[in-house]
Assembly symmetry: D2
Homo-oligomer: 262 residues x 4
């Protein structure tokens, strides 16, 4: 049982559309249409208990998960969906102790998830060409407690990757194909590159570049997520859904000479 | 750069349908239709380099990823797909240091993936009622180097969960709904339960049980994975695909009293 | 080449979101945010040519297809998607000369499509319990030129189907399962029943009823439609899509005695 | 009630995987692993009744639907799925009395479905460059009773379409884009072209050609069909499914000058 402390991040959850990730600070409050939430009444309660607004609405005070933080960061630039982030982790074999190069950082959403999963002994080096994004990301990652794990490099990854012998390279870039040869040089033998792209043309050029470099097990996947509304007597998939986020292409580095096997 | 040592597990990868996860031992060999693979010639090479059979076929010697090991274990009982395992990890917020209760163990495939991700300081307690499965799983998990991380309990989880204050409970069971009250008691406030079921009736009964216990943010998702065949001038989704693996239902524990919000 | 005449229905098509199905009448006009469309300037033009508004916007004047008319009718009650209507026609084998019983009529959208396809010698008998819907549908079907083809019966189909030896029965009802025995009696040997239901529970009860009556080849299908945005260098499925419309269950009548084959 | 006559085509249906489309002829029989089916005992029975083999297995004797015939034809060259054929019909507005140009004929599967739906007063002109395919198709279409409705032209549609003022052009070709200008000339104003292609590159080139010619309402769709196994307590989508058949692109002819609206 963990008590909510002054300064903790809390996910206040009303329902699937209305929830807020907030830092509770003594003496402060949050105004919502269902009344005022006084943080002094929240501090000292157990995580998982209900907070009550001035108008009597009960809101669950949940401990934020990495996905909650990532979704909040994602709103600033582009969203990382749990389905895609989970697949990337599994395909790349990213886990505790992994060393991962990632680009572009954006607001740090994907970097924060990878950083969480490589903790406490691994590391993420995240490349971001834009200074404004890098600043936002550094701030976000610090708030998420990942300062020592994720290093944001304000640098163009198209010019090369300095790191060597890394376990995986994760790309969410407009032009991933030009980074493929750099990724090859940065990866250890058998290391995994994963590239996420919304369009088929990006995917085609990336796959082409992977064949041209010495990669094997080149596979492109797409995940379609459906929410199922499970209600007594009225169970059905949701009427509206996200139809597409992106294509996930993964491959592993092998040493030449290599016989091409398409 | 890591050299392959005597006793290492190696993923020998020929193509997407032909690959073998083997332990290389000095003086031994592996016979395949493309010739004999002499392990003495593999030991001492870099991971990621090519091994050559007696008939001249080149096979990539890759370092196995957790997903490779899990897929091999899964063949003994039921397969855990990376798409589903990744989503479960993300939804449950399972990462380094997490304490997770899991059931049923089966051959240990999902437990091995969770165990990998909670390392080095977390732990997995995996319940399995069948003695034969428990034995297979203990053996598999030891081979995967997770002996100190995953504990297999040969015990019926329907009779209760001994652990308290765990971060998440992951269920892949025929009758998950009867475990929901036990999961509630075992979880910390805000902790996450995730249940994976192939049928809609299992999902319906589980969701009903989650509403009856004090859970919130109850969501059921299904992931449909398509492989995209990216080939010059002939790009298209694969003709045949896995149409369904299962429904993933997740929810978080809150303390009563709770106003039901469907 | 067909000229647009006074009184013709015309689909004025600006783009995928902005199009209007209108009857052009001499001396009248249509006001839209892009200017006024004077019908006198449209009458006498070829179908397929562009009409110009008072503000100079060009709008294609297309001959409306049955699907355009059905979509307009559908807006009044519930939409029939071309994907589902097309599958229903094919599964039921509905074509020129077919005799079809349909329920419920709603605004007549599905009845209009079936009516079009059974013309000129077939017939549709459409049951609708609600008087207000029946009136709307009769009006819609007359406008669509199907007065002699589709007969709307303001009657509860749960009380029975008067027709005999019909080729197919098409149901889009809240409680289709109670109509299954009536459909059996109405159908000819080998005749096809098709039922469309949004929820899985409706589908389950319908399938149960089909097994209980003497039906064979009982299959439930679901069609997921994705729009692909094909644009130079940016091809991808649309970000948002309709996630679910309904389940389509079809079966054929056989005479007893029947060995159940699940 | 219709009796089975000597010479009729009958769909003998055992289960979803075992069914045969046969012409019953007096004095003849069909040998299957479940015994011999004596056609003399079938002739004179009602369609929809059960026939019994020499080993006592009961098989439903169903009247074949157009889709049953099309599927059988399709096995000779390439399969036309009901989901795609239905969508094509609806998008193109093909119905009784329509005049349709189609290519390539293949074994006549799609032509037979279109032919059925334009009967009794419409017509299909189907282009097929290969003489062997054209012969097979002519034979198949005659058997399907569509001799007077579908005309197979053994001619290369890339060299032009002779017909004018047709209602729709349906393409299932390796290089549909080169036919787009011919289709424009052949179609009436507002007429519809529908092209079916398995690959995204074919679709891209076709869409490009449609924009270059004077077409509007250019939309590409893909239908994913899932079979739902509805069984008491075990309802779920089928484990394996067809992942992809093809992309369906449709557009309507408008007269120039046209303001491009993407």
């Amino acid at each position: 049982m963990t008590k909510i402390c002054d300064g903790d991040q809390v996910l206040f959850y009303l329902d699937s559309r209305r929830h807020w990730l907030l830092r509770v600070e003594a003496g402060k409050s949050f105004h919502l249409h269902r009344g005022i939430l006084n943080f002094d009444e929240v501090i000292g309660q157990q995580f998982g208990s209900f907070a009550t607004t001035s108008l009597g609405t009960k809101i669950a005070a949940l401990p934020p998960l990495p996905r909650d933080k990532a979704i909040k960061m994602g709103r600033q630039t582009n969203i990382v969906y749990p389905k895609d982030a989970g697949l990337i982790l599994l395909l790349a074999g990213i886990g505790p102790g992994s060393t991962v190069v990632e680009a572009g950082t954006g607001s740090g959403a994907l970097a924060s998830l990878i950083g969480y999963h490589v903790s406490p002994n691994g590391g993420v080096i995240s490349y971001e060409i834009r200074e404004d994004f890098a600043e936002v990301a550094i701030n976000n990652l610090e708030k998420a407690g990942l300062k020592g794990i994720v290093t944001v490099k304000q640098q163009d990854i198209l010019e090369g990757i300095t790191e060597k012998n890394v376990d995986s390279v994760v790309l969410d870039l407009a032009v991933p194909w030009d980074v493929v040869p750099h990724a090859y040089n940065a990866l250890r033998g058998g290391g995994v590159i994963v590239s996420f792209s919304p369009t088929i043309e990006q995917t085609q050029r990336t796959v082409e570049a992977l064949y041209a470099s010495h990669f094997t097990e080149i596979v492109t996947r797409e995940l379609i997520e459906r929410e199922i509304l499970v209600r007594p007597g009225k169970t059905r998939p949701a009427t509206r859904m996200i139809g597409h986020t992106g294509y996930v292409t993964s491959a592993r580095k092998v040493y030449p000479p290599r016989v091409t096997q398409h």
